[in-house]
Amino acid sequence: MAEPQNSPKDLRQAPVQGGLPSALGSTTSGAIAVAAESTTATRMSAPPSFDVADFPVPHGREEEWRFTPLERLKGLHDGSAAAGGADLKIDILAPDEVTHELVDRSDPRVGKAGKSVDRVAAAAFSAFEKASVITVPKEAVLADPIRIAVHGQGGTTFAHQVIEVGAFAEAVVVIDHTGDAVLAANVEYHLGDGAKLTVVSVQDWDDTAVHAGQHTALVGRDATFKSVVVTFGGDLVRLNPRVQYQGPGGEAELYGLYFTDNGQHQEHRLFVDHEAPNCRSNVAYKGALQGQDAHAVWIGDVLIRAAATGTDTYELNRNLVLTDGARVDSVPNLEIETGEIVGAGHASATGRFEDEQLFYLMARGIPAEEARRLVVRGFFAELVQQIGLPDVEERLIAKIEAELEASVA
């Protein structure tokens, strides 16, 4: 990790805003470390590696595992999970200019976006048979999205997906997860210089599924990466969306929505690694929770390395707790090794939909169910609008409505 190189004077000039914790049935523990010994790296229990043997079996006390119910990972973390059972059904629909290959892990494109950062991701990397590589040729501007439908049929699968978008190409990818599965899968997005990629990853699993994985974007010079992660289903979903910049001028917008029900564990652990100058990142994740033992975890790590002058970054996490019995853990972390930045900040807050809000809306003539819908739809609206695909947006709104119906029933 680079040593601090800036004087305190420089650091004071950096426009840094802190988080504002407000909590009820939740924890929010934000931190901003300025030119400090890096905690993002040191809190991992092992350095990144492709080899599962380099990671000790987690016991639950480790920083990166402390929120996760290991006993519900179906053995993905301790080596007891073996590939088998009914295969995942994967359907890929793509415009003609897009190519799709199955390759070995020796292919130079596999693992290019970075090593695995935890034992489950490394287990997936060590165990997959063939990696799937989807390529958008350079300068191609796709008229239609690439749609990847992943349907679980009850088995256990380790998988690896690479999506490569050539220089100045533009593409939208929708990855849709449904059904029941135990899935450890890593996804890499390679964006060439000036490329634009939007990815919508929908986790609409059955309530029995377990899904863990690392989603890493390698953002080229002046490239634009936008990701929308939508998690509704699963017994346990644990995703590590990560961004690395390969050159200056890159942009990353990371949006997320989750609706965590009774007994579900949904965990999103983001990391934006600003190592190149003049890059931008904006993170906004929002979640609604309802029911007994609904548990959402959001970790937002942003590291601005000494070389990343001119960085502009902001991360936000908002949670709306609709009933008693739900729990949110929200941890934004910002580490800054240079003061020569445009801006850096984070915010995290968890609020409750309370009886007083319900009374206020009802006192204006709005029936109770509509009041609840109004609040939840309003809460998610700005993120749903970011998707930009009408069919996916409509499905999400319908899904939100269905989740609310279930809560009223």
Partner: protein, 254 residues
């Protein structure tokens, strides 16, 4: 003509050691076009009356009746009361994150009017009402009451009063916490609604200050959970000079 009739109303709240009676037999009739000021010391039960009429679940009606044009208000849910024409401007309006003012106003007006207002006339109606209350247009895109100052919250309440056009408006300490300018703007809003002659107003206040702007037809002194004395506007002058001492002395303290 809409008439709100409150007869022998008794209301309790849950407290440590069991239910505690706050309202002890309130009798009051408010007719469309009339303005009644309810004045009283802290803890006399004024706000309890307001919230009980709106149907807040914290308050339990243990006796008496409330009717609006003969309809049993106490049987109605909170939203039904609002749709029947009862409006409560709250002393502490609630923040509703994620719901914009414009979305909230339209949803509310749709519910109360029974049909969605026509978009073009609605936008104009809201814009003009906001201008009259010196509310910045950017408010429409802000979340309901989130980050509003005290004065902004009260003006937002009166904006709703103007747009929802209730037959009975209950204003719970709308004047509290307002500076003179804000008090004047809010009072002008209330007076515009009163001048239509279509609303019966129940103005609940601790201070006589607002009565310089909003002239009541009737003044009631509230003490110990019931109306202790009723009179015309001159009663407010007496309270201005003598305070509430005569009414609290000897009464059961709360």
């Amino acid at each position: 003509m809409a008439t709100l009739e409150i007869h022998d109303l008794h209301v309790s709240v849950e407290a440590e050691g069991g239910p505690r009676e706050i309202l002890r037999g309130v009798d009051l009739t408010v007719k469309q076009g009339e303005t009644h000021a309810i004045m009283g010391p802290n803890g006399s039960g004024k706000s309890t009356l307001a919230y009980s009429l709106a149907g807040h679940p914290k308050y339990t009606v243990t006796g008496g009746t409330v009717t609006l044009d003969g309809e049993d208000v106490l049987e109605m849910s909170v939203d039904e009361r609002a749709r029947a024409g009862v409006f409560l401007a709250m002393q502490y309006p609630v923040e509703v994150p994620g719901v914009s003012v414009s979305n909230f106003l339209r949803t509310s007006a749709t519910a109360v009017r029974g049909e969605a207002p026509k978009l073009r006339t609605w936008v104009k109606e809201v814009k003009e009402a906001m201008e009259r209350l010196s509310i910045d247009p950017s408010f429409a895109e802000r979340n309901v009451n989130e980050g509003f100052s005290g004065g902004e919250k009260k003006r937002h309440e009166i904006l709703q009063l103007e747009l929802l056009r209730p037959s009975i408006a209950i204003l719970d300490e709308t004047d509290s916490g307002l500076d003179v300018d804000a008090l004047r703007i809010v009072s002008e809003g209330v007076n515009r609604v009163r001048e239509t002659g279509e609303v019966g107003t129940l103005l609940i206040t601790h201070y006589t200050r607002i009565l310089r702007y909003i002239k009541p037809d009737h003044v009631h002194v509230f003490a110990n959970g019931r109306i202790a004395e009723s009179g015309g506007a001159e009663l407010a002058d007496k309270l201005e000079n003598e305070g509430y001492e005569a009414y609290v002395k000897g009464g059961a303290s709360e």
